[in-house]
Symmetry: C2
């Protein structure tokens, strides 16, 4: 008898299974130690503005890789990958409206040759570093999605893209806050240090119990809510601009890279 | 009697003096503690490829800021600045050939509205951190330009831009090499950690006494040559592509920003 162990898969194995349609669910816990990434695919006409938006807001939008227009592989972070098939579930937007959640978007890449794919760092990477340091990650303990909040922190605009920063929140025991800051500050390619510690109202968050995205989590006595820049920020900026066409990953259904989280520190 | 003290100027004061034509020489030692940057100005048609080249080669090409097309100010790193006048000396290239070294390029910005300005991090920032830690910076001691070498390390290509990494070399006393690595690794926005320590031939450098750019410096007994990614890399890649039009700063004549070197750590 064999047990399916997603943490033990290599990223190439996991991508192959996803490509064959054997995995269609979230990738949380897959390929222990390897970085996962957010996907945004835009027509070339919007790509300059989006690349500039990411360059100007690197904490919320840490770019890991940008493929050439029409390229269907992240050649540097995952040689041999197929961007159009290696994510378990995609979201397709037309004029800013979600039209479809397919498991394969190769038809769109076949239809047009101007699609530019962006791979953006994901907090899964720094959460694994926190867990190694015995710092709790509440939403993993509780088996829910991380709570995310809109803030009053403006992003630097770029062309058609603008908006405020979205943050994720993790309650950290107050004695471990300095370690959590130091660990994540050392990983700038996956959001880096927190933007706020302990004073949600200072960044325009009034009700921790009702996040704007994801799920609420328990904050225990002696714990401090700590807020990190979140990869939903670029997606929110893209959606707000109502692009004629856009593909993203479905939440939690990430792109698995061949690069280890530790390699993202340097 | 007053003595001219360039280190004591604020960046805004120094930019104003440069703008009035009162300073036309190199900016080494200006505005102590503040980051200086490399300038590359390209027509919008080439800007996507160049932005992608920088994104793919962040150690050699650490982008600090990209202005909007036609914008003449680095609004984030130096509010109120004038990109076309605030550098003591520029270089203008046409079809890849250096045609002029003016102190003002506002005529070119007036002539066309498609120019995109890139501000790229500079090793002056990490040298000031090394000096603070009592680590010697030989070319400053000897009053010459830093030695720079072509290597066999290929950059990731992007569109028309390709080439090998150019590195700068500083001889470091062997006991201080770990500190020099740690200090610069903590400053990824100004080139970050070295790419090679002590084995120049491993990256294709055969003769330290004859650098490809800059000047040779003395390597004393007990010192190790340490090689860092160099901001000449993007300029070399641009020149190799022979763009129809390009403006850069003249070597050593940098853009003075309002951002402190220490702020680039985070």
């Amino acid at each position: 008898m064999t047990t399916f162990d997603p943490a033990g898969l290599t990223p190439a194995q996991a991508r192959a299974m996803i490509r064959r349609g054997e995995i269609t669910g979230p990738t949380t816990g897959f390929c222990a130690g390897y970085a996962q990434g957010n996907l945004v695919v835009l027509p070339k006409a919007l790509a300059w503005d989006f690349l500039l938006f990411c360059q100007r807001n690197p904490k919320a939008c840490p770019l890991l890789e940008v493929a050439d227009a029409g390229e269907r592989s992240f050649a540097r972070f995952a040689p041999g990958s197929d961007i159009a098939k290696d994510i378990p579930r995609y979201r397709v937007y037309k004029d800013g409206v979600l039209t479809e959640e397919p498991t394969d978007v190769s038809a769109y890449f076949a239809e047009r040759d101007d699609l530019v794919s962006f791979l953006i760092g994901c907090s899964f990477s720094f959460e694994s570093a926190l867990l190694e340091a015995d710092i709790p990650v509440r939403q993993i303990e509780e088996g829910v999605n991380v709570p995310m909040y809109n803030t009053n922190i403006p992003c630097q605009s770029a062309g058609v893209f603008h908006g405020n920063m979205v943050v994720s929140m993790r309650p950290i025991p107050y004695k471990q806050v300095p370690a959590a800051v130091a660990i994540t500050a050392g990983m700038p390619r996956v959001h880096g240090a927190p933007v706020q510690i302990g004073a949600p109202e200072a960044i325009g968050i009034t009700d921790l119990a009702h996040p704007d995205f994801g799920d609420a989590v328990t904050i225990r006595p002696g714990e401090v809510p700590v807020f990190w820049p979140c990869g939903v920020t670029p997606q929110a900026a893209v959606m707000a601009s109502k692009p004629a066409f856009c593909i993203t990953h479905a939440p939690g259904h990430m792109f698995l890279t061949d690069v280890k989280n530790t390699a993202l520190r340097f």
